[in-house]
Symmetry: C2
């Protein structure tokens, strides 16, 4: 692939009550990202946002006086995080735009709480589900009360348990290890909303059950905040450039939200997409230095580790029980604390942490240099110095 | 620009009552487009849709069993028509995808009637307006009853009349000429919903006033139907390839929906974007053989003719009164009948007609070969053989 780089990142404070509009948060995050790379807003000619974002392109154009020549939206919620960068890559590599800003802004706690299915209730149901086909999801799952991501992903966890032949205790041990290791990362990250609260396995097990077998610590936080990234065709600004080595934005058929008759995210379609992503970057799983794996719930991390070939199918749980995902593990994951312990910016904060790892600027810096994976279901990026 | 081509087009029958779901219509249009170029659905790896479309990517993936690696959405209604092709261009030129399908499907008469502001009422107001900033549009215009595109564009027409120093009769003569000439094109087009109904200037003037100074013949039809196009990196299939020579997707600040304090679509930002589009294609306005100019209302055509430099600012009305936009005019426009007389597929049928002109397959074929313009406000394409 040609040379397209992430040169700037920016974010707001992450909180439970921003006291500001999502528009204000988006503008602050974008301003910070542009400052990070020293690019003038007048040079921005592309924008990529989530279709779910309430801050549309015209609002950003107005706030900064942008002159756009490319803008796009990525659908399906959290799948959109790496995909925004994939679109920016396409725009820059094709010459459609020169400087593209990707952003996500949400008052996910003080305004619309996804965990309470407030978004899906507000829009007719079902389209919150990342890989789902809107109509059947709403029609089949909604009437049975499966409205929030946690309710849906509890079914993923149960099915994974069954497929992998895990006991209830083993599943809890694996998911708990993810929650505990991500919390440990958060302890060193001053931006992390949960940084002040230690968590161990006993604390995890004592957590309130939200949707069996998921406990409260298995679920993404609900937070307010925004995050933004700047993409262009050269290394500019004071920070090390982070090159987009490969990008893929998959979407598979029959990925029903209840996931009891579709393909789990460690299935053959996912593995084929993940394998292609790494091949396109000329990277093997063992080459990866760290990874950001979308953690709407802890089980998503287990599935992602298998989907992208880090561990064999049905092998992630036992590997995680043994090695964890901490700094000494074979592949450190979600080193900012992730959605479980840093903040929930719908995947965008995970992309920023991957950038920081490549730059060598993470609060939990992995001391090796090399490619970093960003994975969200069937969409992903490989970033490298 | 590198070699990216539109190789297939497809559509459904255009009607006032399709009797089928938008999903069914989309699948039929896409099937027809793939048949048109002989590409197997298994080779499609990209999709681009309007954010307004009720048929999301997952529904198309399911119907065809697609394996995607790129998909995007274009916002702001009709601006998305050329922009879908711009996204497909970016995906293919950058190597993100190889075969991209762009589509639009809507039961615009039998289900949701935009002319009655049913969409904007259903979604909170204001976001129907193509170039508007959602929040202010809804906040300032909605309470005064400006809910439908026709109500908004009536203000554009009045302001244009004032800027260009036109009398009431001159404005009506210019807008009427557009309606009459597009109807004449529709007479030769068996797909056109209004093909069976002749219209002359007297008939136009006798039309019911919808929103002063717009009469019923100034407004886009409300129809059911779908349209799709296939984009790839080579000339494939039995039809002549139509190369995308340039693409631009603009969005300007302060383009308020009521347009009384923003920039009309013949203003300096639009002209600058239009000029850049043509320069990128190495084309002068006089080189253009025909044009598809987004005609939500007839006045949009006048503004587009000026925005893209075909006529001088405030000069289009008098030029159109004198020469029209028919086959003998300096630049034939909307040669299928357009939204006013063929059907309203939200700009996508206009792109298909531009493809047909480049191929030499239009029912109103302009007998010269050369570049064809597709323009929708600040977004556009130049297509060429």
């Amino acid at each position: 692939m040609s040379r397209v780089a992430i040169v700037g990142v920016g974010q707001t404070r992450y909180s439970r009550e921003s006291g500001r509009s999502e528009w204000q948060l988006a503008v602050e995050a974008i301003s910070n990202a542009l400052t990070d790379c020293g690019i003038d807003p007048g040079d921005v000619d592309g924008l990529v946002r989530y279709s779910y974002d309430n801050v549309d392109e015209a609002m950003i154009v107005r706030s900064f006086g942008l002159k756009l020549r490319y803008y796009s939206q990525t659908g399906f919620g959290g799948l959109g995080a790496p995909a925004t960068l994939a679109h920016a890559y396409a725009a820059v590599a094709s010459g459609q735009a020169r400087v593209v800003v990707c952003y996500r802004s949400l008052n996910g706690r003080s305004t619309t709480r996804y965990g309470r299915a407030e978004r899906s209730l507000g829009t007719g149901g079902g389209d919150l589900i990342a890989t789902g086909d809107r109509a059947p999801s709403g029609a089949f799952a909604g009437p049975y009360g499966m409205l929030s991501p946690g309710q849906v992903m509890a079914m993923w966890a149960r099915r994974y348990q069954w497929e992998a032949g895990l006991t209830e205790d083993e599943l809890a041990a694996a998911m708990g290890r993810i929650a505990v290791d991500q919390r440990a990362y958060a302890r060193a990250n001053p931006d992390a909303v949960m940084g002040g609260r230690p968590l161990d396995q006993a604390g995890y097990l004592a957590g309130r059950v939200i949707a069996t077998p998921l406990r409260i610590f298995d679920l993404a936080l609900e937070t307010d905040g925004a995050a933004a990234l700047v993409v262009t065709d050269a290394a500019v600004g004071p920070r090390p450039a982070v090159w987009i080595r490969s990008a893929i934005q998959g979407l598979i058929p029959y990925a029903e939200s209840i996931a009891t008759y579709g393909e789990l995210r460690n299935g053959p379609t996912y593995r084929s997409l993940g394998s292609r992503l790494l091949q396109d970057a000329d990277v093997k799983p063992a080459d990866l230095v760290s990874a950001s794996i979308y953690d709407a719930t802890s089980v998503s991390v287990l599935l992602g580790l298998e989907g992208y070939g880090i561990y064999p199918v049905n092998g992630a749980a036992r590997a995680v029980i043994e090695h964890g995902i901490g700094p000494e593990s074979p592949l450190p994951v979600n080193t900012s604390g992730g959605h479980l312990s840093e903040a929930y910016v719908h995947g965008m904060n995970l992309v920023i942490e991957a950038v920081r790892q490549v730059r060598g600027e993470s609060m939990n810096q992995i001391p090796r240099s090399g490619p970093v994976l960003v994975a969200s279901g069937p969409s992903g990026l490989v970033l490298a110095p």
